[in-house]
């Protein structure tokens, strides 16, 4: 139910979703301008660039995860309500992934095309993003809940959340690089899957605890 509501809210503010997606494309397009147009070099950095852009884009939209509900008091009702707060937090993170992570999975092959990435790698890239971006939403939820109503929240959120994103980045970009080296990225993908399971099991409860702290 919370997921449905979140999706409706996102649908009525389509520009926000589009902005995050555009941000992803723009950041990924800036790298060649800074580095140069040499195709081999670009092919080598493509997985890392796409993953870093996904990280930043996902982080950018975290601020909206709880802010509006915090401002109009809906969040307070959720904290006080009968539904377990952890489940609500998980639903919020899932909705955040649906509007900010899933579109990235869809559009990433297009960016990969710009980088002339080998066509056989699109599957691995999309799969790594599919497994990795939900982890970003789950971990980011903790940060977003902790920085609710804090001054300088946006920059602080980046400081809190980006170091925690490192393992996802390493494994996500690593899987594509391994696959491009002809070694197959299964190992990294499995670890990403393990991270997703662990994050899905524990992060919502940490988010719920953080929400309780910041809404008292």
């Amino acid at each position: 139910m919370v997921v449905w509501r979140e999706l409706l809210v996102a649908l009525r503010r389509r520009s926000d979703v589009a902005t995050a997606l555009l941000f992803f494309v723009i950041v990924a397009s800036l790298f060649p301008l800074g580095i140069g147009a040499e195709p081999n070099k670009l092919r080598a950095i493509a997985p890392g660039v796409i993953w870093v852009s996904a990280l930043l884009s996902s982080m950018l939209s975290l601020g909206r995860l709880f802010a509006a509900d915090h401002a109009d008091g809906t969040l307070e009702q959720m904290v006080l309500g009968a539904a377990p707060l952890g489940v609500t937090a998980a639903a919020k993170a899932f909705a955040h992934w649906l509007v900010s992570g899933l579109p990235l999975v869809a559009i990433a092959p297009l960016v990969a095309l710009q980088y002339d990435l080998d066509a056989g790698l699109y599957g691995v890239l999309a799969l790594s993003l599919l497994l990795g971006t939900p982890v970003l939403s789950l971990i980011g939820g903790i940060g977003a809940a902790l920085t609710l109503g804090v001054r300088g929240g946006g920059v602080l959120l980046a400081l809190l959340v980006l170091p925690l994103y490192v393992p996802v980045l390493v494994m996500g970009a690593g899987s594509v690089e391994m696959a491009s080296a002809g070694l197959g990225g299964q190992g990294q993908l499995l670890i990403l899957g393990a991270m997703l399971i662990v994050a899905a099991a524990f992060a919502p409860w940490a988010t719920a605890a953080a929400l309780r702290i910041s809404s008292e």
Partner: protein
Amino acid sequence: MKWFWYASPQTFYPLAAQLARWCGLAAVVLALAGLYIGFFVAPTDAQQGEAYRIIFIHVPAAWMSMFIYVVMAFWAGIGLAFNTRLSGMMASALAPTGALFTFIALWTGALWGRPTWGTYWVWGDARLMSELILLFLYFGFMALHASIEDPRRADRAAALLALVGVVNIPIIYYSVKWWNTLHQGASVSLSAAPKMAATMLSGMLVMALAFWMYSVAAAMLRVRGIIRERGS
């Protein structure tokens, strides 16, 4: 033994002064002894010459940087579980010292890397990377604590962050380690250290104890400051 007697800031305040005094004294004595062993007793390294002597600062600082984070997370957890005022104060008193040691470990590592590896910084080493991320985690803890007005709420929010961080540190370490094996390029390795002379090891241990005592003294002084600041 009444363990909870000192759980109250008022009763802990005089004890902290005593601890700060004696641990500070012990830190000075141990540091002098450790530096003496490091500079005059320990033999010159066959491969690295005199440059290796920075190990007596570098390794103990790196140990303390990780140990302090765990202690900080421990107090954070106690504070969240039992809602004790002093625990949050202890955690926020430890954070700057931990960040300081992390920074010292990175800085001395860079200075040591220049003559031995030929470069200040190597992206490939898992320990370098996780130490850098540890520094960011300390900064995040302090920044979050500083940006929340109400100290009790700041304690709890920062405590939660410390606990999330302590779960993540091993994951970060191993992910960077595996990343390193993926990038075969990095050829220098810290782990191929030759067998160490006994005097080197003892010098390192004495320095580690000195840093430990210093950390206790610094944290106690800081916790006294925090108790006064919050007026309890």
